[in-house]
């Protein structure tokens, strides 16, 4: 098939997603802020929403997919144009942390070197491993082919595993637009989500340079770059979790009574998160629970917008699980079913889990190169009490509590797993850590920056003698 058509098909969906975010934020926001948010959200919104429409259209009508592609694009554009004029809320102002010029120059150099190195690695994966890693072939790309090629009834084609369909749907939609299979779609989709993560880290951080540092750390994590370039679903899950949490934090910070556009977009990301992988539903539920504890009144006022945004992804997930997904496989009931209490209280299992988690702090242990990343995040958490005054900002508290909640729930999930524990840890722990890694980076960057700002302003007040 025509390579140009494949590229055009790839560009159009994130382009529409980015336009949707750009228009929703309205003309009152800062242009650079809008641009970074829109570029970061582009793959998640464009490919995610397109995937929902493709699957819905295939399920309802089973008609030639080309029509679906056209309808998807038109609906997204019409939706963006229809709702764009309503947004009037400015995103929250960035933190006034003062930096020396040399620090800024060093950070810019760091970010550039990291980006160039990560792009070089991504290009190598693109050309050397075109089909992606095992799971990409066995699950995501295979199901994309089924969505695109399988005639008529989808039930049998999609009943092999109970994983949701964001990635397969997004890839199949690109094939539909280009009217043929091409290797561009899965590879470009994987890389789009990979490079959206650093953009979201910069956009979501109130102190931009702290966000830039978090982005540089993300792209300097070999496991993250390798997985993202391998066409697997863990980086897209991480991207959507980061988008949902970052947008909800921005929503809690903005001054609008019922939340601005970030609330609806947070909802949309939340729904799409559960449409990406089964773990997404766990992270989405946890995010809502933490938000309810952190800012109950604000969440109550923003609830309808948030739920409306989440509805498309949530409805698609419910229908998929009810109509197509096989009853077998891992689900909440298998985790909480027979013998759950015994597994939960088994100290030997907890020892195994904690040893496995501790291994991720050791830069020399294991086959997966996390390096010093988790040790650094642990050090950031330990440093916080030494930095002085706490930030009263609800958004920062939400991110911190969510990161801690995600890390705390992981051992519980493994304690409850009905699968052989050693095998389950070996095959999935690193990927689950990857799903929450960007969120944890953002939470750490935000917490450290907020305290440094409080410290700097306190020192300035003391030096100037202002009470």
């Amino acid at each position: 098939m025509n390579g140009a058509a494949a590229w055009l098909a790839f560009v159009v969906l994130p382009g529409v997603g980015g336009a949707l975010a750009w228009l929703r934020w309205g003309p009152t926001s800062g242009a650079i802020e809008r641009l970074v948010w829109s570029a970061g959200l582009a793959p998640a919104l464009g490919l995610g929403f397109g995937s929902l429409l493709l699957v819905a259209w295939r399920a309802l009508f089973g008609s030639p997919p080309g029509l679906v592609a056209g309808a998807t694009t038109a609906l997204l554009l019409l939706g963006a144009a229809r709702y764009a004029p309503r947004s009037r809320t400015e995103p929250p102002a960035s933190l006034p942390l003062s930096w020396r010029r040399i620090d800024v120059a060093l950070l810019a150099a760091t970010a550039t070197i990291t980006l160039v190195t990560a792009v070089r690695a991504a290009v190598a994966y693109w050309s050397e491993i075109p089909e992606g890693a095992y799971d990409a072939v066995a699950t995501w790309n295979l199901r994309a082919r089924l969505l695109f090629l399988a005639p008529g009834e989808l039930g049998e084609a999609l009943s092999a595993t109970n994983y949701p369909l964001l990635l397969p749907g997004a890839i199949a939609l690109q094939w539909s637009l280009a009217d043929g299979l091409s290797a561009v779609a899965p590879r470009a989709t994987g890389l789009a989500f990979l490079f959206a993560v650093p953009l979201l880290l910069v956009a979501a951080a109130r102190e931009r340079r702290a966000g830039l540092a978090a982005a540089a750390f993300f792209l300097a994590t070999p496991f993250a770059v390798g997985q993202g370039a391998s066409q697997e679903a863990d980086v897209p899950t991480a991207c959507l979790l980061l988008a949902a949490a970052g947008l909800l934090a921005a929503s809690l910070r903005d001054g609008a009574t019922q939340g601005g556009p970030s609330t609806e977009l947070a909802g949309l990301a939340l729904g799409l998160l559960s449409w990406t992988k089964n773990e997404g539903l766990l992270w989405a539920s946890l995010l809502l629970a933490v938000a309810a504890v952190t800012a109950p009144r604000k969440l109550q006022r923003r609830g309808i917008r948030l739920l409306l945004g989440a509805a498309p992804g949530a409805v698609a997930l419910v229908l998929f699980k009810a109509l197509w997904a096989p009853a077998s496989g891992l689900s909440a009931s298998t985790f909480l079913g027979e013998g759950a209490l015994g597994r939960l209280l088994d100290l030997e299992r907890w020892g195994t889990i904690l040893r496995a988690l501790g291994g991720r702090l050791d830069p020399t242990a294991g086959a997966f190169p996390w390096g010093l990343s988790w040790l650094l995040l642990l050090a950031a958490a330990a440093l916080l009490p030494w930095l002085g005054a706490r930030s009263a900002d609800e958004g920062t508290r939400l991110l911190g509590r969510l990161a801690i909640g995600c890390l705390a729930i992981l051992p519980v999930v493994y304690a409850l797993t009905p699968l052989p524990l050693g095998w389950h840890l070996e095959t999935s722990l690193d990927r689950l850590l990857l799903q929450i890694y960007p969120l944890t980076l953002l939470a750490a960057a935000e917490a450290v920056a907020a305290r440094l700002v409080a410290r700097q302003s306190a020192a300035a007040r003391i030096e100037s003698g202002v009470p």
Binding site: Y134, V137, P151, A157, A220, P222, A454
Partner: protein, 149 residues
């Protein structure tokens, strides 16, 4: 009147600048050093990824072209296909996964060699099955087209 914390301690910003502040700055420096080390070590790992990619074998590289085999056999798009796989054989999992990918949208199942199919000796096929010798292909490439359900 000086504002104090409810437990009686002065607020953080009101505490005297001294030992604790210097300790905080020292900790910040240590954290900065750890951050630099983490970034450099990670960057080294990312810089090595192109070599890792070059050394990794592409998933379906070196395996038969299952799509071409199916075309040669005339296996219809709606036929269920069984791919015979020897679980002991190297890359048995990859054979099955790559066959599934190449043969989509046909539903594909794996038939382990030795259970009820001996590819090399071709026993009497079970009713409703048609075993096909692909001539010269590896055991993993032998397809077993079945009539559509």
């Amino acid at each position: 009147m000086k504002e104090v914390h409810r437990r009686g301690r002065p607020l953080a910003e009101e505490r005297p600048v001294g030992r604790s502040r210097r300790a905080g700055q020292a900790l910040l420096c240590l954290f900065g050093a750890l951050a630099c080390a983490a970034w450099l070590q990670g960057l080294r790992g990312v810089a090595a990824l192109p070599r890792v990619a070059r050394e990794a074998r592409a998933m379906c590289e070196g395996l038969p072209d299952y799509a071409a085999l199916a075309r040669d056999l005339g296996v219809p798009l709606v036929a269920r296909v069984a791919v015979v796989v020897d679980p002991q054989e190297e890359r048995a999992g990859e054979r099955f996964v790559c066959a599934r990918l190449a043969l989509t949208p046909r539903p594909v199942e794996a038939r382990p060699l030795g259970e009820d199919v001996e590819v090399d000796r071709f026993p009497q096929p079970p009713a409703g099955f048609r075993l096909t010798d692909l001539g010269g292909a590896e055991p993993g490439a032998r397809l077993e087209p079945k009539p559509p359900r």
